[in-house]
């Protein structure tokens, strides 16, 4: 369960006439991970795509164009399309018919849109001239007259009369638009006068008729066009509603068909035969062989070339292609472990010869999360929200967050009950007259309900004990990491390496912690003096032995990381520190809220107090998701994974038909 599936490299050989049948069988089996063939290997060529490829690709292209016109993206559809019905429709040219159906509508709509934008432009140009009651043909065609049209800031009539004398000035009803008619000889002078009045020229339009009347015509036509466009859109929505299921299912099916038809491009072939080089999980090889034998009357041959072992060879000696050296990784976890796979692959996919840490992650990650939250009041909403999320969410990210909340919530409930005996930052049992549920509600939970007879700890009161405890948690977690690392190295390079490398680190960790404990006992606690001395005496030789082994195993430079190990252990004190910061905030909010509720301020204060209580705890609760989640993840990724995890494995992607929107109905 902890290692990825063992893989075998197989070679499948047959005559070209059997290729299609073989591919169907491989897709049905769904366990072969094809190793891509590279052209020019030993006189083989890349295979030719199946005949259906062209037709299917064409149809897919048409389909995607239609989908784009209808604005269809991949959506969640409740119903799956039966495959037999779908194939019938595709073969009956349903896509082509649909294309015809919508192409008319779309062409019409596009034409209308084009005409509409032309009209909009016209309207903008015409608009200034509507202020002057002159027909457009009046602006042009004079021999002895010069015409100026444009806008002015002030009425130029008086100055024109003074300087030019003879001029016809028509001011627009908006007070800005102006049309000036003067004799050609006065044109120059007129330009100067107009410039003083802030004239900006607008060239007169060609055409006939009164602009204000033309405007009415344009508006009418635009309204008509808009109506046409919106009716075309309505038609398209109708088509979309009617065919959306078909379109999405067809996209999936045609993509499958194209993939299948183009698969020979990844295979090697000669003019008469083909061969497929592939990885298959060792457990499945027999099943596949039987399937091929039965399905092709023993005409296609399967041979196991290699059952991939997990030792790591020196790369210098085999220069073989990495395609054949690197088996793809099929993670195999139970239901709970697989929920955490995404969190592991977020960092990297495990390699073929190392433990897949998902199952360990499934325990330690929520454990730390729960320890940091450690409060029944926050745990219950976590559990509820997580459970709902796991039921409803489909995307990997949300499922992972839900998983964290659900399992983390369970642990938080556990620690909130048995370790801290705390709800919403208030303890169940009062210590030294502090605020507690028993004094607050006037009941003695210990006595009345026989609850909490065990020793519990306060996040704010027992800081030293919690710090001490979390260091031990760190020790245990790191030791676990080193053990996994030990197993990995043994798998790759043998026992001797494992003992020297990881065994050395284990001794260093053990010796170090004994030594520190010894010093701590002697200096800080002082009481059991002899215990401290013994711990120190035992710790130093263990530490030294570990260092010697490590030097032999990894070389002297590895000793540089000794302090890293110490900070690793101390890093786990964050478990206490973050719990404490949350408890501190809760304490503050509770203090304020209860003062307000219990005080003599009346209803307003009571309501305000309740508001502070709710908002405060809501804030802490949301911060808990981020801080506890992130810090717990960090302890896994940095401290824990650092002890064993390499990563960089190749994902296993077997030949399979994607069936999310379609389904095969058994006849």
């Amino acid at each position: 369960m902890l290692l990825p599936d063992q893989m075998s490299r197989v070679l499948i050989v047959g005559a070209n006439s059997r290729l299609e049948g073989t591919l169907d069988l491989l897709y049905e089996d769904g366990s072969t991970h094809i190793i891509d063939f590279i052209d020019g290997e030993d006189g083989f060529r890349i295979g030719k795509p199946l005949a259906q490829a062209i037709k299917a690709s064409e149809r897919l292209l048409t389909l995607r164009a239609i989908a784009k016109d209808l604005r269809i993206r991949e959506e969640l559809l409740e119903e799956r399309y039966p495959l037999s019905k779908l194939s019938q429709e595709i073969d009956g040219n349903a896509i082509e018919k649909l294309e015809n159906e919508i192409s008319d509508i779309i062409e019409h709509r596009n034409q209308s849109q084009e005409r509409l934008s032309d009209l909009q432009l016209n309207k903008r140009e015409l608009e200034p001239f509507t202020h002057i009651p002159l027909s457009l043909d009046m602006y042009r065609g004079y021999e002895s007259l010069a015409v100026f049209t444009g806008t002015v800031r002030v009425d130029p009539t008086p100055s024109l009369m003074a300087k030019v004398g003879q001029a016809e000035v028509i001011m627009g009803d908006d007070g800005h638009m102006v049309a000036v008619f003067v004799a050609r000889k006065d044109a120059e002078e007129t330009t100067r006068v107009l410039a003083d009045a802030g004239f900006m020229e607008i060239a007169a339009l060609r055409g006939e008729g009164l602009p204000s009347e033309m405007m009415i015509g344009i508006d009418e036509e635009m309204a008509q066009l808009e109506e046409q466009i919106s009716s075309a859109e309505t038609d398209l929505v109708g088509v979309r509603e009617k065919h959306i299921g078909f379109l999405i299912a067809t996209d999936e099916e045609l993509s499958n068909q194209v993939d299948r038809a183009e698969l020979p491009l990844r295979l090697g072939s000669t003019s008469h035969a083909f061969f497929i080089d592939a990885w298959v999980p060792t457990d499945e090889v027999e099943k596949l062989a039987k399937l091929l034998e039965d399905g092709t009357e023993s005409n296609v041959h399967l041979e196991v070339l290699e059952v991939k072992d997990r030792t790591e060879h020196d790369h210098a000696e085999d220069e073989e292609d990495s395609r054949f050296n690197e088996a793809p990784i099929n993670l195999r976890n139970g239901r709970m472990g697989s929920l955490f796979e995404y969190l592991v692959t977020l960092i990297s996919r495990p390699k073929y010869n190392e433990v897949d840490p998902s199952s360990i992650f499934a325990w330690t990650f929520p454990f730390f999360f729960g320890f940091m939250v450690g409060d029944i009041g926050y745990a219950i909403p976590f559990i509820v929200l997580g459970a709902v999320g796991l039921k409803k969410c489909t995307s990997n990210e949300w499922r992972t967050i839900s998983t964290m909340l659900f399992f983390g919530g369970l642990w938080a409930f556990f620690f909130g009950t048995f370790f801290f005996a705390e709800m919403l930052g208030i303890h169940f049992i009062s210590t030294e007259g502090h605020l507690a549920w028993n004094t607050l509600l006037g009941i003695n939970v210990t006595h009345d309900f026989a609850l909490f007879p065990w020793e519990t700890y306060s996040k704010l009161g027992d800081v030293e004990i919690l710090l001490y405890f979390t260091c031990w948690l760190g020790f245990a977690h790191l030791m676990l990491g080193l053990m996994v690392g030990f197993y990995n190295v043994k798998l790759r390079h043998g026992l001797k390496h494992a003992v020297l490398e990881k065994g050395g680190w284990m001794l260093i960790l053990l010796g170090g912690i004994l030594g520190v404990l010894g010093i701590a006992y002697m200096i800080l606690i002082e009481t059991p003096y002899f215990l401290g001395t013994w711990a120190l005496y035992a710790g130093i030789p263990v530490l030294l032995l570990g260092m010697v082994m490590l030097m032999k195993g990894e070389g002297g430079t590895a000793l540089m990381e000794l302090f890293g190990m110490m900070t690793n252990v101390l890093s786990y004190t964050r478990l206490a520190a973050i719990g404490m910061s949350k408890a501190g905030m809760a304490f503050a909010f509770n203090f304020i809220a209860i003062e307000m509720i219990g005080g003599s301020g009346g209803t307003v204060n009571l309501l305000l107090g309740l508001l502070v209580f709710l908002a405060g705890h809501m804030t802490i609760w949301m911060l808990a998701i981020v801080s506890a989640g992130l810090h717990s993840a960090r302890l896994q990724y940095v401290e824990f994974f650092g002890k064993f995890f390499k990563g960089g494995g190749l994902p296993y992607s077997p030949l399979r038909m994607i069936r999310e929107h379609t389904e095969k109905m058994e006849a």
Partner: protein, 74 residues
């Protein structure tokens, strides 16, 4: 025993300096990580880890401050 005021100031310095150091380091790493993620989305996991690594500095500061605080009034 040492003056409570001095202990409080010491705890304060421990938190403030380490907090500042963490923030500074995370700012640098975070902006680089976001840049890398814009190029390749699959780097999210690594970016996240690298960004939270300096968080340890402030955790040590916090632990130190807590230890100092527990000495107050002793």
């Amino acid at each position: 025993m040492a003056d409570d005021g001095i202990i409080a100031i010491a705890a304060c310095i421990a938190i403030a300096t380490t907090g500042f150091a963490s923030a500074w380091a995370e700012k640098e790493i975070g902006s680089a990580a976001v840049g890398a993620m814009a190029e390749d989305k699959s780097l999210f996991g690594n970016g996240l880890i690298l960004t939270v690594i300096p968080e340890t500095i402030v955790i040590f500061g916090l632990v130190l401050a807590i230890l100092l605080w527990t000495q107050m009034g002793a």
